[in-house]
Symmetry: C2
Subunit: 161 residues, 2 copies
């Protein structure tokens, strides 16, 4: 029997571990981390990441139906209902029936919604800076560009309309 029973494994560092070499695993973990930090940052504005994403889509100017928002974000339309319900209840978003097609809503941010979204952006950007802190200034745009090329062929999952 060795002098140390149950030799207390020192906590392994990421690079010690086989999975830490796998690009795919690093992507998955980085994505989970980015989501967690975004959720934490947005909690200061009382928003979930999904609400922030939906508001950002609505804010783009092009009139979008709930279904289109969901298709672009990869969220089923039935889940969009609850998000818009929340946002409308907080007077951040207005539903208005489309004049051309009365089945659809045209969604738009209220002034209050625009203000909150702007505030939320500040929180998200702060979280991103923390997340990207280990990178040099020139690495960040190169990384964003690489990510954009990786994601673009698969996005959106379902084409709207």
């Amino acid at each position: 029997m060795s002098s140390r029973k149950n030799a207390p494994s020192p906590a392994p560092s990421l690079t010690d571990v086989a999975l830490g070499q796998r690009t795919g695993y690093l992507f998955i973990k980085a994505g989970e981390l980015a989501l967690r930090l975004a959720e934490d940052a947005l909690a200061a504005s009382g928003l979930r990441a999904r609400h922030f994403n939906v508001m950002t889509m609505i804010n783009m100017g092009r009139p979008l139906s709930q279904q289109e928002v969901g298709d672009i974000l990869g969220i089923d339309k039935n889940l969009i209902v609850a998000v818009i319900d929340d946002l409308e209840g907080r007077e951040l978003v207005r539903r208005e029936r489309s004049l051309e097609d009365r089945r659809r809503y045209v969604l738009e941010l209220t002034p209050k919604g625009k203000r909150l979204l702007k505030e939320a952006y500040a929180h998200v950007e702060r979280a991103e800076r923390e997340f990207l802190a280990p990178l040099t200034a020139s690495e960040v745009p190169a990384l964003r560009d690489a990510l954009s090329r990786i994601v673009a062929p698969w996005w959106p999952v379902k084409k709207p309309r």
Copy 2:
């Protein structure tokens, strides 16, 4: 009324959309995509990504308890039980009581488990190549290095032992 009713919005490209500029959003989407492709690839070996990760940890040589595997992977120990149950039922992993501490199991891959893991690696590597296809050869190691630096400070979530 315009000549085109309900003007069919052309599907927006990623770069058209405000979220497509957000590094954090790109990370989250890239992570989701990496997970989806890994799950699809591993289905050919009858494994879920989690099973693959657990098997990879067990295969590292250092004797690990179920709890340690869970801590390193960020999975609660109660969920590890079901994973090991599955793998043991398929004779891919063996549980053996630790001689030094009879509360713990020492986990090890069976020869069959090692063979399947090797096969699974081939599937995962193929999926990764597809995922990373939009990048140049020199971008891939630079990206992996950047990801590793981003994830390392947050990993593992809970230190084992």
